[in-house]
């Protein structure tokens, strides 16, 4: 082949490829996927032996992970679900547009929810279970700036009034309004988790999922199949906190954890990876970390095209186009897409010659196709032994048409003129008359309409409405505490002691307390010995889901490094951010699980507020309870350590946190 003309060589290559693919198809049909897997492994090992260097890749082709033949149809009436979704879209949009008319510059986001509508609606109608007497309920971290959509749904559910919607971002209006983003501090009956400081919610979700396991392993809570879902933006994953703990999730086999990353390929300013593919980048990172990765890139209209892609030309084309270019297709005409996406190869053009430009333009994406999303979620909840991430491709500002869809300005868009509103209304079939359109009225069908009936029935079947925050747990019993502290009131009788030593002694006594000992959750970021806490290792054990699979080197000593599946200490390793996330999970369990766990997070004081101040602010917002213990106090007591360790700052940094007693 080497000396052939390029054109001839490429045709020969295509032929050769086709032969190989057909052989592979034959094996697949004759012996099944497992055999194909073994064969490929053999081939790759053979190639390596022959000196072929195969570059490492953690990626799969740029197509859906779930094959069409493995899909099940979306349950329920597709049409009614589409109608409900359209109504949520409309009300979410109207909420933002109206708020900004009343008060110029009040802000709000339209395009984020517009791109994520199907991701949420499929969840609400089929997956998210509410907490009630029979079930723990799924835990949902909603993407912060998608809040208008969540409010709009609660409006259809009859949980929020039109007045409340009208007062979006106007909480000081008489009768109250709705907070900009999820803030349990501001809406304690509604929001559970503050998520809008991007990157913290994925981190907190991971530790939340792990803390649920901890409670179960320690017998503080019944085992349950509840899931933790975190809805994230693709731009959000640039925050180091977002991906920083993903190996913990796979190491701990947290199959109760599901990330849904809305890959609309855009962040605030422009494309997330204009010159690359964010979906592929994330796939590699998560697969490399041991997650189950489900890519939901293409909608159903693409299935027949891919089925006809016998030479793999389309898959290859899909994989070589960069995100910036995909974004361009989203704002362009079908003719443009035909010329620039399909036009690179006459064989590709041939594949779509039966489609009009309009049809080409409307080939939908995976994250907008409820059936694709449904199947991704279904696979995610069934997956065992590892957390799942769903990478769902969408268009930012989906449905906003020329006024915002896929545009770089779309993140900040909050206004729409009458014409744009009318077009949106017509596209989604909202029954608002032309005469009223300028007012952007909220619209809710009658209680006995099929939409409201369906939506209510689904929520009933899934255990109730969410998000919803409620505190049902009663006070802890503190009968024995007075006597527990008695010895400390006495002072040390002339002997010297440090407050760190005294604290550790108190903690150790608290852990033994009959009434609340079990509720204490000591959390340390690889710093227990620093504070003389190693005796606790033995006393209550270090939590490890699998127990202790090795013989610790110090087994023969009294204070050996004891790991146990019912261990009480969360020895997080050197991650203050992770430890703080555990602190938040433990300190909010009173609301989420109805369990009054009392976390003590003991950290090197300079690596607390300075390092993870924003998580502490989130903890405050989340109404977290517990004790942060910063050692060693002061800039002069920690002799010899120098400017990075000696803490003269933390009290000043703690000062602004309104509900933190420092």
């Amino acid at each position: 082949m080497r000396n052939l003309a390029p054109r001839e060589s490429s045709e020969l290559e295509a032929l050769e490829t086709r032969e190989w693919l057909e052989s592979l198809d034959y094996v697949l049909h004759a012996s099944g996927p497992a055999r194909v897997g073994r064969l490929l492994k053999e081939l790759s090992s053979h190639a390596r032996q022959k000196g072929v260097q195969l570059p490492f890749t953690a990626n799969t082709p740029y197509i859906n992970t779930i094959a069409p033949e493995d899909e099940v149809p979306l349950p329920g009436s597709v049409e009614i679900q589409r109608r409900i979704k359209s109504l949520v879209r409309w009300n979410a949009l109207a909420m933002v547009v109206r708020a900004n008319r009343v008060e110029e510059g009040i802000g709000g986001h339209i395009s984020t929810y517009a791109s994520a509508a199907a991701l949420y609606e499929v969840g609400f109608n089929h997956f998210f279970r509410a907490r009630n007497e029979d079930h723990d309920g799924d835990v949902i971290y909603f993407q912060g700036h998608a809040s208008p959509g969540i409010y709009a749904r609660a409006f259809l559910e009859g949980r929020l009034s039109a007045d409340q919607l009208a007062n979006f971002r106007r909480e000081l209006m008489p009768g109250g309004g709705l907070s900009s983003y999820p803030h349990p501090w501001l809406m304690p009956d509604f929001w559970e988790f503050p998520t809008v400081s991007m990157g913290l919610s994925p981190l907190m979700a991971i530790y939340q999922a792990r803390f649920t396991r901890y409670l179960e392993d320690r017998g503080l809570k019944k085992k349950s199949d509840a899931k933790v879902w975190a809805f994230l933006g693709d731009g959000e994953t640039d925050e180091p906190e977002a991906l920083g703990a993903i190996t913990l999730a796979s190491r701990e086999k947290l199959d109760n954890l599901i990330f849904v990353i809305n890959c609309n390929l855009q962040r605030l300013d422009g494309p997330v990876r204009g010159n690359g593919q964010i979906i592929q980048e994330l796939e590699a990172a998560f697969r490399g970390a041991g997650w189950n990765v489900i890519k939901t890139i293409w909608g159903r209209e693409w299935d027949p095209l891919l089925a006809n892609d016998r030479d793999g030309l389309l898959v290859k084309r899909m994989g070589e186009v960069v995100d910036g270019q995909y974004q361009k297709y989203a704002v362009e005409t079908g003719a443009y897409v035909r010329e620039h996406f399909w036009g690179v190869d006459p064989r590709l053009i041939e594949m779509v010659k039966h489609l009009s430009d309009d049809q080409l333009k409307k080939l939908s994406l995976g994250g907008h196709d409820p059936q694709k999303v449904y199947n991704a979620y279904r696979a995610a909840i069934q997956h065992k032994g590892a957390p799942t991430v769903i990478l769902a491709r969408t268009i930012k500002g989906y449905g906003l048409g020329e006024s915002g869809e896929g545009k770089n300005i779309t993140h900040q868009q909050k206004k729409m003129n009458e014409d744009e509103l009318r077009r949106f209304r017509s596209r989604f079939g909202i029954p608002v008359a032309d005469a009223d359109i300028a007012q952007a009225p909220f619209y809710k069908p009658a209680d006995d309409s099929p939409e409201i009936q369906y939506l209510r029935e689904r929520r009933r079947a899934l255990g109730g409405y969410l998000p919803q925050r409620s505190v049902t747990v009663g006070p802890i019993k503190v009968g024995g505490l007075e006597s527990l502290f008695e010895e400390f009131y006495e002072g040390t009788d002339g002997r010297s002691a440090s407050t760190t030593m005294v604290f550790v002694r108190m903690l150790s006594k608290l852990l033994r307390d009959k009434e609340i000992g079990d509720l204490i959750v000591p959390i340390v970021p690889d710093e227990a010995r620093t504070f003389g806490m190693e005796a606790l290792f033995r006393q209550v054990g270090i939590y490890s889901h699998v127990g202790q699979l090795y013989e610790p080197v110090d087994m023969s000593t009294l204070l050996y490094y004891k790991e146990a599946s019912d261990g009480q200490i969360l020895e997080e390793g050197m991650t203050e951010a992770g430890s703080m996330s555990s602190f938040i999970a433990a300190g909010t369990a009173y609301a989420l699980h109805g369990i009054n766990t009392i976390p003590f997070f003991i950290f090197y004081s300079m690596f607390g507020f300075q390092r993870i101040g924003d998580l502490i602010w989130a903890a405050a917002d989340a109404r977290t309870r517990g004790f942060l213990i910063g050692g060693t106090s002061g800039r002069t007591t920690l002799a010899g350590e120098g400017l990075q360790h000696q803490d003269g700052n933390s009290h000043v940094l703690a000062y602004p946190v309104p509900n933190l007693k420092a």
């Binding site: 106007r170 909480e171 000081l172 907070s179 501001l186 405050a620 000062y655 309104p658 509900n659």
Partner: protein, 211 residues
């Protein structure tokens, strides 16, 4: 920084509120760099009732409005702009330290104290940040410094709504000044009471620092 090759860096905050930007007052350069300068003295030099109002950033226009409001109550108020409380506080601390260690020498006077020398009446600082920030210069203010700030979680709402919520708008600056004067016995208490009512302030409103 780069000319003198200093190992320093800057933190500046910029805002999104639009209002006419004043020209730099004559002679203000040094004060801007040091953190304090008189922005707009009261034209009324004869009044018995006086106030010194401190503002920065987005709250400076509120303080200027309070200056006008106070005029109606017969109070002549000077407005000071405070680009940097931390610079003022650090300089004053450094001077105090020198004084502490040099008891035999003529005490030096911190910049902020020099600026305010002879100033009388009420002293009110309003900030879009925590009250602790303006409070950091209180020691060198020649009177009791009342600080208004945005301690607490706040809400999502309009600027106007938020400034009412946090009690940092022109009305609160005005009431704070009057109340301070009443405390000093320069005004009858019921004037403050009346003003609270006139300005539409709800005295039983929730405490923004804790709600």
């Amino acid at each position: 920084m780069y000319v003198d090759q200093e190992s320093i860096f800057y933190y500046l905050t910029v805002m999104n509120e639009q209002y006419p930007m004043p020209h730099m007052p004559a002679g203000a350069r040094e004060g801007i760099l040091k953190g304090l300068y008189k922005f707009k003295p009261s034209p009324d030099t004869g009044s018995r009732l006086r106030a010194q109002l401190f503002g920065s950033g987005a709250i400076l226009p509120q303080v200027l409005k309070a200056q006008e409001l106070l005029e109606k109550y017969g109070v002549a108020a000077d407005v000071w702009s405070v680009p940097s409380y931390s610079e003022l506080s650090r300089e004053a601390q450094a001077v105090e330290r020198w004084n502490l260690l040099h008891p035999g020498e003529k005490p030096r006077v911190p910049y902020v104290a020099r600026c305010l020398e002879g100033a009388t009446g009420a002293f009110v600082a309003a900030s879009d940040y925590l009250k602790a920030l303006p409070a950091s210069i209180a020691t060198w203010v020649p009177g009791r410094l009342v600080t208004l700030g945005t301690d607490g979680f706040g809400r999502s709402d309009s600027r106007k709504g938020l400034r009412d919520f946090f009690e940092v708008d022109a009305r609160f600056v005005t009431v704070a000044a009057l109340s301070s004067l009443a405390r000093e016995g320069q005004l009858p208490k019921d004037v403050v009471q009346k003003t609270i009512k006139e300005l539409g302030i709800n005295p039983e409103k929730a405490n923004p620092a804790t709600s």
